[in-house]
């Protein structure tokens, strides 16, 4: 029973990792941009929620009503003003610019909020759980997180394959030259993709901040988890990304059970193993 519990908890944590990963995967898929600042944007979204809650007294989940549109708007502007200029110039400029952005965000958060760790107080839901069977308690927040991950992946998948916007994303990703002749302005398509990615980032940031403490320097660690989940699952497959998050979560949970110091190590080892055996990931993009 103990092991079932550990694996179930690992799966639920995997939902959070999948949320870290989907925004990253989306941006890479549409514009081949590896966003090094992705983790810092997640933490920045958590601080944005923190600020909104301070100002309005809203519940953390309710704060999303404000945080989501602001994040989307920020993503749209960031893409138009900064990131678009780094594309079409090889692989290095986007890496350097988003790396710089990562440092700027961390220092901005440090200056504004200090290095103290914070937490979003979601009230009773944080510690409530229900018992699935003796020895297997499911917390509402982990369950909510996992449900959000499934909903986000399903929603993005639907948007990608069944909407005109998703069609534009795929077309621009396939052939950014010919896509223009379809009347698509690649720059605004990229901006829309970044806005969408930031919506997922904001959801991930708020859920992270309800579950655990956060501080200005937590971003790079979240980037690594997201990155590992994407690679494990296989690029270009969002359900694969969810599976990747789950595998990472389970690996960490099992590692932690063997020895508390092994939690992160176990995750990295599984990542490296999969990278060595199946570099294309477990579920690479098939024919849609």
């Amino acid at each position: 029973m103990e092991w079932i519990n550990i694996i179930v908890q690992g799966i639920l944590v995997g939902g959070l990792y999948a949320l870290f990963a989907t925004g990253l995967s989306l941006i890479f898929g549409v514009m081949r941009l590896v966003n090094i600042a992705h983790g810092d944007l997640i933490i920045a979204a958590a601080y944005l929620a923190y600020t909104v809650i301070q100002l309005t007294g809203l519940h953390p989940l309710a704060s999303l009503v404000v945080v989501l549109p602001l994040s989307a708007l920020f993503g749209y502007g960031l893409q138009l003003a900064v990131l678009n200029r780094t594309l079409d110039k090889g692989i290095l400029p986007p890496l350097l610019v988003t790396f710089g952005l990562s440092i700027i965000i961390q220092n901005f958060l440090l200056e504004t909020f200090s290095a103290d760790s914070r937490r979003l107080n979601a009230g009773a839901i944080e510690i409530s759980s229900f018992s699935l069977m003796p020895g297997l308690d499911i917390g509402y927040v982990p369950l909510l997180t996992f449900a959000c991950a499934v909903a986000v992946v399903w929603g993005l998948q639907y948007l990608f394959y069944h909407s005109p916007m998703g069609r534009s994303f795929r077309a621009v990703s396939d052939d950014p030259e010919v896509s223009q002749l379809m009347g698509l302005n690649n720059r605004t398509v990229y901006a829309a993709a970044m806005a969408l990615s930031m919506v997922v980032v904001a959801i991930a940031g708020v859920l992270l901040a309800i579950r655990s403490n956060f501080d200005p320097f937590m971003g790079p660690g979240r980037l690594i988890f997201g990155f590992e989940a994407v690679i494990i699952g296989g690029l270009g497959n969002l359900w694969g990304t969810l599976a990747g998050g789950v595998i990472l979560g389970v690996a960490q949970a099992v590692g932690a059970q063997i020895d508390p110091g092994w939690q992160l190590l176990a995750g990295h080892i599984v990542f490296l193993l999969i990278l060595a055996v199946r570099p294309q990931g477990l579920f690479p993009k098939g024919v849609a």
Binding site: R167, R170, D174, D175, E177, S179, Q180, M182
Partner: protein
């Protein structure tokens, strides 16, 4: 005589430091089919890319329906009424046949072409409409590419290498449909390796060599030898 639909004057185009077009002049009347011929590297595709804004490094004038196209970005060209069927077809591999066509019609100008009209023209595409475009034969892919171009109901359809890489029977099928495609007053610029076939359907032709226009006129106004000489620069 009224002003031509399209007038290109002294067009020069560059890739970095290399010049690919030299003072190219071109006119196209409404409903006219112009065959654009020339050896590999003559600049035919470059000319079409200049017209659609994909090659931006260019000087000269491109007047289309009285407007200057030089400052117009590529993503607005289709809305103005010029559609390109690119060399190598360039379908979107992650889109189905129908999605490729629908995207071509994203800029929906008024006109006779619609998804149904394309399926009437190429019935096989209706059967394959859910398939990824990558699973189609070369000829079927070319049909999708033509359909995608027509979906916006353009005034000018640019066909780059219509028959390249296709089986002879397929080429014949597509050429048999050309009058239907080019009907309704559509103007066409047809780039073609198969010179005699292109001259057979064209109202007028233009032969390019090393970025310059070498010969231009009605196909029956020149002898075969004259055209061959212009083609190879001999």
């Amino acid at each position: 005589m009224s002003e031509p639909l399209l007038t290109v004057e002294r067009l020069n185009a560059f890739y970095g430091d290399a010049q690919a077009l030299f003072d190219v002049d071109l006119t196209l009347a409404r409903g006219e089919l112009l065959a654009l011929i020339g050896a590999n590297g003559a600049g035919k595709s470059t000319l079409l890319k200049c017209l659609t804004g994909l090659v931006k490094n260019r000087t000269g004038t491109i007047r289309f329906k009285g407007e200057d196209l030089i400052p117009v970005p590529a993503f607005e060209i289709t809305a103005r009424g010029i559609a390109l069927v690119p060399e190598g077809r360039r379908l979107f591999p992650s889109l189905s046949v129908e999605e490729n066509l629908l995207l071509g019609g994203k800029v929906a100008r008024p006109g006779a072409w619609s998804l149904e009209a394309i399926y009437d023209l190429f019935p096989i595409l209706k059967e394959k409409r859910k398939s990824p475009s990558t699973l189609l034969s070369g000829g079927q892919q070319q049909m999708v590419a033509i359909g995608r171009g027509l979906m916006s109901n353009p005034d000018i359809l640019l066909l780059d290498e219509l028959s390249l890489g296709l089986a002879p029977v397929v080429i014949k099928d597509i050429y048999d449909l050309l009058p239907k495609i080019a009907g309704n007053g559509l103007s066409v610029i047809l780039v073609e390796q198969d010179v005699s076939r292109a001259l057979g359907v064209a109202d007028r032709f233009m032969c390019m060599l090393e970025g310059k226009v070498k010969l231009e006129g009605r196909p029956d106004a020149f002898g075969r030898e004259e055209i061959t000489n212009a083609y190879f620069g001999t």
